[in-house]
């Protein structure tokens, strides 16, 4: 088991991204879009719920136009805070607006093999191994399914994946790769087995569901149906917009926020209309598409600003947020990866995004790298310490020590130094060695991160899952596979 999970907690630093009036304008523009332009809900069940509450549903296009008062009243039903439960209750994650918890990113399709260094397609074993390494890391508080288990059948893959994570870690699982009704039902069944009963699951949701929207202004039918199944069981559910300037959203940042916000809050309202009071969260990973290729960028100033903007909007709606940060577009762990992941994580953390996704990816969340994973953990550790700010009190002002050392002395021997030195950051992946030492070895942070990952993978033993539960998982998946 890992030690105590490390969170950004009550950061001293803060950011003024928007005035209250500006947030209100974004909100009003969003309501206008939902009411007059509409959002596509291609699920029959979702359309029935909207219609029953008086929204206008176009049966042919699936476009729902809902009045502002309906959206606002529904959102007010959502709980402001709740706890994500973990297999190990000491690793439960309060989403209380005071903590930032980091997960592994997902859901990629390739991996840089930890031993051969070759890039290859992902498989179930990778999901298991990443979960095991993540279980050992104090900065990783919960899991997304990092990689797609492409060696498993498409219609049960999501179930194999969550079973693999639970077998290898005691931390909370938030899956982003279950997006149809039948798989969601089976996932609820599995989570129920893990905690004992449906009622226990409501009290201790060891699983949460993250669904992607289909920007601009749309949703996927399977995602909506899966989220409704999750919400019915009391699992926290969230909708993530990845609307991107130029392609799936307007070129302007505020306009892109309106498009993404309309998707997220309309779906969140739907959940509240169906199951008032169900735990929900906001989710966003917005960016600007690359001007030359149209590709998802995973970095750049627009991306960093969106990283903070989502948190401000989620606070406005008074619900937790799962925010995409890290996710560099770099092809290998390098300058670009360090720059992008530091900035995006800083901006998302300073607004206290409750859940942060996530460590470990290259090339815009497609290629897993264990080296990047561990270096991302270090980025997070640095951000965490920066956000804590500078504590000013009589002990930290150190007047007594200054007096005793006086002009021209040094503080190395003073007991005040020994009392506080372990508060100073010790990097694992920054090269501070003498030049000649580096010159002899020519190694660096990537090598050290790789060695650490291999060490964790080879030595870390997660608390095993009860074999009876594992058998139940297998039975549920087998039934689904038939």
């Amino acid at each position: 088991m890992a030690g105590i999970l490390k969170a950004v907690a009550n950061p001293k630093l803060s950011l003024n991204l928007f005035t209250p009036e500006e947030v209100q304008r974004i909100h009003q523009a969003t309501l206008e879009v939902i009411e007059t332009v509409g959002v596509r809900f291609p699920s029959r069940r979702a359309q029935e719920i909207w219609a029953a509450h008086g929204a206008h549903v176009d049966a042919k296009t699936g476009i729902v136009k809902a009045p502002a008062h309906l959206i606002e009243a529904a959102l007010k039903q959502a709980p402001a805070m709740y706890t994500l439960a973990a297999r190990d209750a000491t690793q439960d994650l309060p989403l209380d607006g005071k903590h930032v918890w980091v997960g592994t990113d997902g859901c990629g399709v390739e991996i840089i093999d930890l031993y051969s260094g070759e890039r290859r397609r992902s498989r179930l074993q990778d999901v298991e191994e990443i979960a095991r390494v993540a279980d050992a890391l104090e900065q990783v508080a919960f899991h997304w399914v990092a990689l797609s288990a492409q060696d498993k059948p498409a219609h049960t893959r999501g179930l194999h994946e969550i079973a693999a994570v639970w077998r290898n870690s005691t931390k909370h699982v938030q899956t982003e790769s279950i997006y149809n009704e039948s798989e969601a039902k089976a996932a609820v069944e599995m989570a129920t087995v893990l905690v004992g009963s449906r009622e226990a699951l409501r009290q201790r949701p060891v699983l949460s569901l993250m669904q992607c929207t289909a920007p601009p202004l749309g949703h996927d039918a399977g995602s909506l149906d899966a989220a409704l199944i999750g919400a019915q069981a009391g699992l926290p559910v969230g909708f993530m917009t990845m609307s991107a300037c130029l392609t799936t959203g307007p070129a302007t940042l505020a306009g892109n926020l309106v498009v993404g916000n309309a998707e997220v809050i309309s779906a969140t309202a739907l959940i509240q209309l169906a199951y008032p009071g169900a735990p929900v969260f906001y989710a966003a990973a917005q960016t600007a598409s690359d001007l030359r290729t149209g590709a998802y960028t995973g970095g750049g100033p627009e991306d960093f600003l969106f990283g903070a903007a989502g948190g401000v909007l989620a606070d406005f709606y008074n619900i937790p947020i799962s925010m995409g940060s890290f996710a560099t577009g770099a092809k290998e762990p390098n300058w670009q990866a360090g720059l992008e992941n530091t900035f995006s994580t800083f901006m998302a953390s300073i607004v206290v995004s409750d859940m942060l996704l996530g460590v470990g990816f290259l090339h815009g969340s497609r290629i897993w790298s264990y080296e990047q994973m561990l270096m991302d953990c270090e980025i997070y550790e640095i951000v965490r310490r920066v956000l804590a700010g500078i504590e000013v009190n009589s002990e930290t002002l150190a007047l007594q020590a200054i007096r005793e050392v006086g002009p021209g002395g040094n503080f190395l021997k003073h007991k005040h130094t020994r009392a506080h030195m372990r508060e100073i950051f010790v990097p694992e992946y920054l090269d501070r060695r003498p030049y000649n030492v580096w010159e002899e070895k020519k190694d660096g942070p990537r090598d050290w991160a790789r060695q650490k990952a291999r060490h964790l993978l080879e030595t870390h033993q997660p608390d095993p899952l009860d074999p009876a539960i594992v058998r139940e998982f297998e039975r549920i998946i087998a039934a689904q596979e038939r």
Partner: protein, 214 residues
């Protein structure tokens, strides 16, 4: 006289103005201009200019897309004129394109369709959530050279392979190119696709290569 008209046609593509492009075709027809000459001396230079500017980093994707839309508008008005005169514009090849069954992600696919169309391919866009056999049947119907299949989900990506198998079973010999966020060169090779590109501009180069043109 004609040169002014050609310049205006070229400019309508650069400006990405479909209405203007269509209106200029009407004007050319009224003046009795050969539609093939209008295409090749008026509009194609516009597409070439935009392509060059894009390659040099002076123009960006949105400008490329609207230029493609303008070209499409011009061709739509020109096509009946070709038919009347029994001529044909030269096309690089016929492409059937769509997003695979179970997947509603549209933007990348549409972008590729626009780029291909602007580059001189005849494109049949089947939209999203397209069943495997619809690809096969459309390819047979239009005698397609290339089938382009998009997928954004790892779970729908597997059906790209089904299309390739169905083509073989149906003895349809079109080449297959695949794309979409989770799709990789490795996956393309594994399922026996003939081409793969990560972005829309690259997709044009792949399609040309599949036609033996590059």
């Amino acid at each position: 006289m004609s040169q002014d008209l050609f310049d205006a046609m070229r400019q309508s593509i650069i400006d990405g103005d479909p209405e203007q492009a269509a209106a200029l075709v009407q004007q050319a027809i009224a003046q009795g201009l050969d539609p093939l000459v209008a295409l090749n001396q008026g509009f194609v230079p516009g597409v070439n200019y935009v392509g060059e500017q894009f390659a040099q980093g002076e123009m960006f994707l949105p400008e490329l897309v609207v230029a493609g839309e303008a070209m499409k508008a011009a061709v739509a008005v020109l096509e009946p004129e070709f038919a009347k005169r029994g001529t044909e514009r030269q096309i690089l090849g016929k492409v059937v394109i769509g997003t695979i069954e179970g997947d509603i992600h549209e933007i990348g696919k549409t972008l590729v369709a626009t780029m291909l169309s602007a580059s001189g391919f005849q494109v049949y866009d089947l939209g999203v959530d397209v069943p495997v056999m619809t690809f096969v049947e459309k390819a047979r119907e239009v005698n397609a050279d290339i089938i382009a299949i998009s997928a954004l989900l790892t779970t729908t990506m597997v059906r790209q392979k089904d299309v390739i198998e169905a083509l073989q079973d149906s003895n349809v010999s079109a080449k297959v190119m695949v794309g979409g966020a989770p799709v990789t060169q490795g996956w393309a090779q594994e399922i026996g696709a003939h081409g793969y590109s990560e972005d829309a501009v690259g997709a044009v180069a792949v399609a040309k290569r599949l036609m033996g043109l590059a």
